[in-house]
């Protein structure tokens, strides 16, 4: 189920994201040149986004490349502790729509909406325990997976360093809760080159639980599509094979 992560890149941004510089076409060529078996074209959305149908039409019109699977997605942040996602109301997921919704921890999903890392640090200083903060984050992530239908966890736990925590602060039951929800909901989980997460302990636990893992560069320009160093060195395919 988990192919060699480095032959997949399930998080590639194009010019549909306003901070990315390469077209879907340039990314496709880069994916082919990197020898990838699978690439997911992903762009950022928020509730006000209207471009998704055009983006999908553009990807659908790309020339086929033999041996290269082309998938689509939109990336949205988790808005609050209930797992609400920052996606347009009319977003279609599945047939006729995007293949997956990438669930992003761009901000801390507070009970009243997104908290900036600084606000989160202040709440922790004011008495929110680190374990409670992690509990809220894990619960919101689980709920977001349930809401997304077909989801993919983008750079999961990349938020932790910004709120003064690391993956080592996660308990095994936190990790297990995310893994079980991912399996239950069919959510894929990326191992993200750019943010170097999740780390080996979490990746092995996810693999052991049967989570589908994919590689992700979170590329914003074609030259980095399918290029891995941390992912290749940290969680090689043979490690994962041993786990299973």
């Amino acid at each position: 189920m988990t192919a060699d992560l480095t032959r997949t890149d399930h998080h590639v941004h194009s010019t549909w994201s306003d901070d990315a510089v390469s077209t879907t076409c340039a990314n496709l060529a880069a994916a082919r040149d990197a020898g990838l078996a699978s690439v997911r074209m992903v762009d950022h959305v928020r509730t006000s986004t209207t471009y998704v149908p055009e983006f999908l039409a553009e990807v659908a019109a790309l020339p086929p490349v033999e041996g290269l699977e082309v998938l689509t997605g939109v990336e949205a942040k988790i808005l609050d502790a209930s797992g609400r996602l920052d996606v347009p109301d009319d977003l279609v997921v599945g047939a006729g729509g995007v293949d997956r919704v990438l669930i992003a921890d761009h901000q801390f999903p507070g009970p009243d909406g997104p908290w900036s890392p600084r606000r989160t640090l202040e709440e922790i200083e004011r008495g929110l325990s680190a374990q409670d903060a992690l509990g809220i984050l894990v619960e919101a992530t689980v709920r977001a997976m349930e809401r997304a239908g077909r989801g993919q966890l983008a750079h999961v736990f990349s938020l932790l360093p910004k709120i003064g925590l690391t993956e080592a602060d996660l308990t095994d039951s936190h990790v297990d809760a995310v893994a079980q929800a991912a399996v239950r909901t069919g959510t894929t989980v990326e191992v993200n080159e750019k943010w170097r997460c999740p780390g080996p302990r979490v990746v092995r636990a996810f693999a052991a639980a049967g989570v589908t893992l994919v590689g992700s560069t979170d590329s914003h320009e074609a030259s980095s599509v399918g290029r891995y160093s941390w992912v290749a060195g940290t969680v090689a395919a043979e490690d994962l094979a041993v786990v299973r």
Partner: protein, 332 residues
């Protein structure tokens, strides 16, 4: 709890001398991860930061510029944003709350300070009572016979030396018409100084470093030296207080006929000649970063007298590493 992760700092205007100066200063800090942005893929400062930390952004005047910059800051988890581009600064500062909401601190003076600096007429009015300021009037409302010539005319708003020229008599001034966006200002005959000035969160001036611009090429100082002169420093301090400065500004002074330091204008941003001030002992980009992060600053930072001559430097890279143009490309 672990040590905090590196501070992620985005510097816009990476192609300009000010952007490069800020990048070079902050690159020396081990606790900083640098990101660079510019609208031009050949902007040299982009290539002073790691691959993957280089971003092409829209022109500062584009309608969606601020939206896309805020989005970039959120996705890249930018802790502190330094803008070194004149046209961007007031637009970004007007949206400081949106940046705060996503956890990005803007290392720039307040919008109110920026606005009074960018309107040279408002600036002259603000400072006229607290320090020597050349007589300044609007072209459309002043009597040409009331001036001693020559005088200087310049745009009321605008950066650098664009549109600044000398007018030699009342007839020539009358011939310019009655445009209220043009200023008439008494000519200051003496030497000119740039004073790099940093004020802390309470508006207390931590350092004011006067520089003489010994040689200027295309508006950029290519040779200069810091000058320990109490009067210049004190004048810049009074300007900083008058405009409510928090952060870094470049105060331009010129001596009047009596030899007093008088106010020309204030550029409320990092100057391209900042490396001299840094080398003289006051690392203003680094101090401005601490200020943006809410860390305490020293009460004062001394500087030494130091001269500089400047030269172009080269960054060599694989042609494939030059960022792609943001345009339609066909698959190879």
């Amino acid at each position: 709890m672990s040590d905090p992760s590196p501070v992620r700092v985005l510097v816009t205007g990476a192609g300009g001398p000010a952007g490069v100066a800020v990048l070079r200063s902050l690159a020396r800090r081990p606790d900083v991860t640098l990101l660079a942005a510019d609208m031009d893929r050949y902007a040299s400062g982009l290539y002073l930061v790691d691959e993957g930390a280089r971003f092409l952004v829209e022109p500062g005047l584009a309608d969606t510029f601020v939206d896309s910059l805020v989005a970039l800051c959120e996705r890249e988890r930018v802790d502190v944003l330094f803008s070194t581009v004149d046209v961007e600064l007031p637009r970004i500062a007007a949206e400081r709350k949106r940046l705060d909401a996503i956890g990005t601190a803007l290392a720039a003076p307040s919008l109110e300070t920026l606005e009074v600096c960018l309107d040279k007429f408002a600036l002259a009015r603000r400072c006229a009572d607290v320090l020597p300021t050349p007589r300044t009037e609007l072209l459309g409302t002043t009597d040409p016979e009331s001036w001693d010539y020559p005088v200087i005319v310049k745009p009321r708003r605008g950066a650098g030396s664009r549109g600044v020229h000398q007018v030699d008599d009342a007839d020539a001034l009358r011939a310019l018409g009655a445009d209220e966006d043009i200023l008439v200002q008494a000519l200051l005959p003496g030497d000119e100084y740039s004073v790099d000035t940093l004020a802390d969160a309470d508006g207390h001036v931590v350092a004011a470093v006067p520089r003489s611009r010994l040689r200027v090429d295309s508006g950029v100082s290519v040779a200069g030296c810091t000058v320990a002169d109490r009067e210049l420093e004190q004048t810049a301090r009074r300007v900083a207080e008058a405009i409510g400065l928090v952060g870094v500004a470049n105060v331009q002074l010129r001596r009047d006929a009596e030899g007093r330091a008088a106010l020309l204008e204030v550029n409320p941003r990092f100057p391209g000649a900042m490396p001299l001030t840094v080398a003289a002992g006051v690392d203003m980009p680094s101090l401005a970063l601490d200020l943006a992060l809410g860390r305490p600053l020293p009460d004062s930072v001394p500087f030494t007298e130091l001269a500089v001559v400047r030269y172009l430097e080269d960054v060599f890279l694989d042609p494939a590493d030059v960022l792609d143009a943001p345009s339609d490309e066909v698959a190879r």
